[in-house]
């Protein structure tokens, strides 16, 4: 199959080749390869899946099945800042639902969506285990705790201001 890597940098596919090579003797390695591939590309578009299918000699349908089964794999490109609202029980009873409402209201997008300017993505997750700081939102893996809805407004404004400078 010809490479259909379209807009993607060939250097990224070279990195992916390396990953696949490293895992060739590992039994049941598909999920590990997908984790690494997502680390390289930021997401797992069909062309990356097709490439892995070809190189690892696994049916594309099987790869697609695995990618869509697990919540951490995504086929959509994410924004520069991903807000992940913890909806674990401890955060939920302390009002993380209101944080999520505020975030959606401020950005005008829903969970799993990205703003048109490519700046923000909203996600919801189940417990990051920082229950002592509930309710928490992570922004690109940095945990922000003890938040109120008005803090969300400020966080977004701060990022927008920083991006303009």
């Amino acid at each position: 199959m010809a490479c259909t890597c379209g807009g993607h940098n060939e250097a990224l596919f070279a990195q992916l080749d390396e990953v696949i090579e490293q895992h060739k003797d590992m039994r049941g390695s598909l999920i590990s390869v997908l984790h690494k591939a997502q680390g390289i590309f930021g997401y797992l578009p069909e062309e990356v899946q097709a490439y892995i299918a070809e190189k690892m000699d696994v049916p594309l349908s099987e790869i697609y099945g695995v990618v869509t089964f697990y919540a951490l794999f995504t086929m959509k490109k994410k924004g520069k800042y991903t807000f992940n609202v913890c909806l674990g029980t401890a955060c939920y009873v302390k009002g993380s639902g209101k944080l999520l409402d505020k975030l959606q209201e401020e950005l005008g997008i829903g969970v799993g969506e990205t703003t048109e300017d490519g700046l923000f993505t909203i996600e919801a997750c189940r417990c990051v285990g920082a229950c002592g700081l509930a309710p928490v939102v992570t922004v690109n893996d940095k945990v922000h705790g003890h938040l109120k809805p008005e803090d969300i407004t400020k966080m977004i404004a701060d990022i927008r201001a920083a991006e303009q400078n």
């Binding site: 598909l30 984790h35 089964f69 697990y70 951490l72 674990g88 029980t89 939920y92 997750c125 285990g129």
Partner: protein, 628 residues
């Protein structure tokens, strides 16, 4: 560290390593030229999230500038458990327990504590109701009723230094098993301890090992379930972060017992710190000859690999987990055959949870009788609970089985904040249930929780107060299980969806009494027909809330009211004309212009416009606005 060639060598090394960190036992270090103070900084996920690693870096830098680096060692350690006080720092040999330490506090700590020998009073924990400051952990009520077995090394050692783990007895249990016991004796010892699996249903661990040992195969596996998915439970993560060697040791003991030479740790990708610590621990254990070929010169080979999960709750179920380790969609398989017969790649396997395994080495160093002397008749040892929600002291709590909920929530947890009333304790996560105030004095173990309509699960303990709506909580859990249902079996895939729709209807004020009957019928059907534990236990939150809080369901259905004031559609805001001063603050803050009235006259809310956001009630200075 060079290879440890025999168990005798390991024993000698333990004494040597312990002497090096004797400062933490309140003694002088040996050799004497080592640091006189050790500062332990919590590097668990909770404290790291509030910048403990930045605090640690600042402390190291300022100690260097003050020329104190040789005298004072700064050590990263695992979770102390009292997460709501983070970042936490403990200074030895004094044992001073500093809380909420920020980077800006570091200069004062260096000046005052280390240069002048004066404690920094304002960073000490104030014992509630006494006005006195606790100078060390032993005078803090949160720690007094706890008994740390599984968490024994969390907060005492640097998890990235195998020497410190060895100092605290790591691999001694493995050494004893390999040199003085047969595999059958190892299994018998675990059976005798009475330990039951800490991950969910409480199946006897010894029995699991015995079954796996009983099947003949050249290839067998030990698998660790570190896919801690219950929201609000984080004990497994803390053990992996604070004491990874205890898990590696237990895996090797298990491998010896059943005849396996390879193990996998299946850990959530959401736990990057835990994964990193495990990687370091595995590398160090291999280098020391405690994993790999010919462990401690006994001829026994055992090695471990890590597999990352990818965000699927169902993978906490053992057969789904095994399928995921194989690199496939993590769907459960019908049992039997059980993993003991046909597990990973269809060969005999046992799957144990992290907390269970953290207890195993202790059974071998202290003996099965000593382990079994703690706990209740049917549940031996201790249990770690992740206490969170509406409780003052949030964190990890390890108590003997049989401790009451009241002791946990009030003595250890410090009660409910803001003078609110206790309503219920949710245990067991999405598979569990909730216990009302009448169950506060129940002695908690595997069996009493089941009898009370809940379950232990992995030990999440979420405290709920009067502002929590129990129908909403049931809906919250159903949203979770419905979302996480893998879709393989119809009772779970369709049944959880139908139950969620009914709950949705009730919280919107559109429910009928028939809906309660339908929920009960569906619950029974799903729990008896779903393929795996996820579906079988999905109805539990509904059944438990119906059992103890049926009147709340009825209030939603019959009176169209949410007594806790949570379900938006059922709320009505109104202004008390006698209390309203006509200040107009509410009208100016209403986002939809639903409030009208003239200055200095009582205002009114147009309920047809009101979106029930509660902004008016928050702003009113006269308490004139009520919700009902």
């Amino acid at each position: 560290m060079s290879k440890i060639a025999s168990f005798e060598e390991l024993k000698a090394l333990q004494a040597e390593e312990r002497a090096k960190i004797a400062v933490r036992d309140g003694q002088a270090p040996n050799p004497a030229n080592l640091a006189k103070h050790h500062v332990l900084v919590c590097a668990g996920t909770g404290c790291s999230s509030s910048d403990s690693m930045e605090v640690m870096a600042a402390l190291e830098k300022q100690l260097a500038e003050a020329g104190l680096s040789a005298e004072i060692d700064v050590v990263k350690t695992g979770c102390f458990g009292f997460c709501s006080l983070g970042p936490i720092m403990v200074v030895y040999p004094e044992g001073t327990f500093y809380t909420h330490v920020k980077v800006s506090d570091v200069p004062e700590i260096v000046e005052s504590h280390f240069k002048s020998g004066q404690l920094v009073e304002r960073l000490l924990y104030e014992v509630p109701g006494t006005g006195t400051k606790a100078t060390d952990m032993s005078s803090i009520p949160f720690f007094q009723k706890q008994k740390r077995v599984a968490l024994r090394n969390c907060g005492t050692i640097n998890p990235e230094n195998i020497g410190e783990a060895i100092a605290h007895g790591a691999y001694q249990g493995l050494g004893k098993a390999l040199t003085s016991m047969t595999p059958a004796e190892v299994v018998a010892e675990v059976e005798k301890s009475g330990i039951r699996g800490r991950g969910g249903a409480g199946f006897p661990t010894g029995k699991k090992w015995k079954f796996a040992a009983g099947y003949q195969s050249d290839e067998k596996y030990v698998v660790v379930n570190a896919d801690e998915g219950d929201p609000g439970a984080f004990m497994d993560r803390s053990i992996l972060e604070g004491d990874p060697h205890s898990i590696l040791e237990a895996m090797a003991i298990g491998g010896y017992a059943i005849g396996a030479h390879h193990g996998f740790i299946y850990v959530r990708a959401e736990y990057p710190i835990a994964v990193g610590r495990l990687e370091v621990a595995i590398a160090q254990a291999r280098e020391a000859g405690l994993l790999g070929k010919d462990i401690m010169g006994t001829g026994f080979d055992f090695d471990v690999d890590i597999r990352l999960g990818a965000g699927a709750f169902v993978c906490g179920e053992e057969t789904a987990l095994l399928t995921s380790v194989e690199g496939k969609r993590g769907e459960p398989r019908p049992r039997p055959p059980f993993p003991a017969e046909k597990g990973l790649w269809n060969v005999p396997t046992f799957v144990n949870n992290v907390e269970t395994l953290a207890n195993i080495p202790v059974i071998f160093t202290e003996g099965a009788e000593a382990f079994a002397s703690v706990g209740t008749a049917g549940s031996k040892g201790t249990k770690v609970f992740a206490m969170a929600g509406k409780v003052n002291n949030i964190g990890l709590v390890e108590v003997p089985m049989g401790t009451t909920l009241r002791e946990m929530i009030y003595d250890i947890g410090g009660g409910i904040p803001d003078g609110k009333a206790f309503k219920a304790a949710q245990t067991g996560g999405p598979s569990g249930g909730c216990l009302p105030a009448s169950a506060l004095d129940t002695e908690i173990d595997f069996d009493t929780l089941v009898a009370a309509g809940s379950m232990m699960g992995s030990g999440g303990l979420i405290v709920l107060d009067e502002t929590t709506c129990m129908v909403d909580i049931a809906k919250f859990y159903l949203e979770f299980t419905q979302d996480e249902s893998c879709g393989k079996c119809p009772p779970c895939r369709i049944g959880t969806k139908r139950m969620l729709e009914i709950l949705d209807k009730i919280t919107l004020g559109e429910g009928t009494m028939e809906d309660i009957a339908n929920l009960e019928t569906l619950a029974k059907t799903i729990s008896t027909s779903a393929l795996c534990a996820l579906g079988q236990t999905a109805p539990n939150p509904i059944l438990a809330t119906l059992k103890f809080f049926r009147e709340e369901y009825e209030a939603h259905i019959v009176d169209k009211k949410c007594p806790a004031g949570v379900c938006k559609k059922l709320l009505q805001y109104s202004i008390d004309a006698d209390k309203c001063k006509g200040c107009t603050l509410c009208a100016r803050n209403c986002p939809v212009g639903a409030i009208s009235g003239t200055v200095k006259e009582p205002h009114k809310i147009d309920t047809s416009k009101c979106i029930k956001c509660g902004a008016c009630m928050e702003k009113c200075k006269f308490g004139a606005i009520s919700r009902g």
